[in-house]
Chain length 334, copies 2
DNA sequence: GTGAAAGCGCTAACAT
DNA sequence: ATGTTAGCGCTTTCAC
């Protein structure tokens, strides 16, 4: 049961192999009659081109590698959606690899992508192993690091300051007169850590005492996790006046837990989340949050990559701050 | 800036190319001294094997194709997680393609995957274009259709009866004495449609009148969508006694909307969702739901694929019903 | 345990 | 507009 090859199609159509190749890739360069003969031969044989052979011969993969830490988080789903919309339309295959929040796995992902000769790499995050960074630099292809701001980008860096955003969220609570402000997070990835740093900064600036609860928990299902963490906090500590949750899912879970215990929001406790997920605006009470621009980040990353590929040079080092926005809503008394 | 090839490594190490190839793939078959020389040459040159060449020469891709309708839904994230865990450990690359709930895009996805010579295809869903089905059959590789039960599987089918589950959810409400039972859904994909069929069936069996609200809306952000749909329903129709939401996100949104309007759950309206997402058990009130086994589905699909690849034959047609479970909780008065 | 030769299935470059 | 030739970078097969 040999697979059908381009040569088989050529024989059946009575043309040379290269003509078949042309019909498939640039049909306009082949005359109508030949094109028709080739197309019917393709159909008759059920020919499907071998992409590996094509990639080898043309030295182009038409593939772009994307590394995300997880698929469990809508943030990355929205980011990937934007990337896909643009890159697939431009004729590229998007190869998504999951690093599971591990720099070692990220390095392996990079090796796998380079092995596939992707034409660019887009990474969520700016922290890599030394070797990973070396691999990316040596590969001489466009690299976009996203979602955070880097002091020292490899090529292009598109993101926001997670620390400033964490500071802004905390300041939002401080401005409303709260002093006992808690910070709630599950596992701390780099981005959450930066938000925590921003929290510390704002608290210190205001002369307030820190009061964080960070736990090592599985990352997914964070509404449930938010309830659990909130319960833990309320059981073990003096009640805070306000809570800054490192993401909206945690915040929603915390709100549910408070409701269950008859703690009024924002009357007894104010809560602010992060990312401004779509349910935040329509929750009851509506949830204050920090809006992050992950869709725009993905879109811009894709556009920059396409531009760099067309320019066929590595882009100049560039850092783009897409910023964030404080969304003041009912859960913090607005 | 020519890329480093296996031949370059061979020259530097002073061995033949095939030895380099062996060191990389079956290090045990090469003597210690040569292996070391090769490995240092690899490191020195920063050699990264060209996978396209490897796939072409070996006629094996070590890749498995997976088609899902969206990445926006945790259901598929959990399903993919299971697939990844098993297939990546077994040395396969998992190529995920997104059909965006379109059979045409699914067909294109299948072509793309076959072009990459994937060694098996795992598809969420059982509905394909005629041509897509033909492509899969002719490709002579293991095919697993999942998440629904098919009358006529291509090879292996692992799933549950969405219709029975929809019927069971409705019966759960009927047994609690409700008569005005609403069905709430955004866009109807095949699985939601089957749940709706189950709803119709149960209502007819009980001699009750249908009362569904199905809308054409964007699919993501369904907590927000659930609030919106619930509001629409409460504004336009006589108030139902119970609502069956086609997924837990919609149900949570509906609960939020009811709360906002001072409608007590389950005192004024009972609500049941679908999928038993992790927040269902910890919502307040806790949300009744139908537990689907998507993780197990992914796991079993991966295992069946590995078995079929090792057996190097297409598997016999097989249909596995993984079932579902009714989770009775506070939102329906339990 | 190691190597030489041949070829996987395409496409680039150069004819015609 | 179509064909010829050569080769992409690996692995297979067979020999030593």
């Amino acid at each position: 049961m040999r697979r059908v090859t381009l040569d088989d199609v050529a024989s059946l159509a009575g043309v040379s192999p290269i003509t078949v190749s042309r019909v498939l890739r640039k049909p306009d360069s082949v005359s109508e009659p030949l094109r028709q003969r080739v197309n019917s031969a393709v159909k008759e044989l059920g020919y499907v081109p071998n992409i590996a052979a094509s990639r080898l011969a043309s030295a182009r993969s038409h593939a772009i590698g994307v590394i995300v830490p997880t698929l469990y988080n809508v943030i990355f789903a929205e980011y990937l959606l934007a990337l896909h919309e643009i890159l697939v339309d431009a004729g590229f295959q998007v190869i998504v690899v999951n690093s599971r929040y591990s720099e070692i796995e990220e390095e392996n992902a990079i090796k796998a992508l380079l092995g596939q000769r992707v034409e660019a790499v887009i990474i969520a995050g700016i922290h890599h192993t030394t070797h990973a960074r070396q691999l990316l630099t040596r590969a001489h292809l466009p690299v976009v690091e996203t979602l955070e701001l880097s002091q020292d980008p490899i090529d292009i860096n598109i993101g926001m300051s997670q620390e400033s955003a964490g500071r802004a969220a905390t300041q939002h609570l401080i401005q409303r007169g709260f002093k006992r402000i808690a910070f709630l997070s599950g596992n701390l990835d780099h981005r959450s850590q930066s938000r925590l740093d921003g929290y510390y900064l704002a608290m210190r600036e205001a002369g307030l005492e820190d009061f964080e609860l960070v736990t090592q928990r599985p990352r997914h299902s964070s509404i449930a996790l938010g309830s659990a963490l909130c319960a833990e906090m309320l059981n073990c500590m003096k009640m805070p006046e306000a809570i800054f949750c490192t993401d909206d899912n945690l915040a929603l879970g915390a709100m549910q837990e408070c409701r269950k215990r008859g703690i009024g929001i924002p009357y007894n406790i104010s809560i602010i989340g992060f990312h401004d997920l779509e349910f935040a605006a329509c929750a009851s009470p509506s949830l204050s949050s920090i809006a992050s621009r992950r869709y725009e980040t993905g879109k811009l990353a894709a556009e920059k990559v396409l531009a760099a590929i067309h320019a066929s040079t590595r882009p100049a080092v560039e850092r783009i701050d897409l910023g964030f926005e404080v969304k003041a809503r009912e859960s913090t008394g607005d």
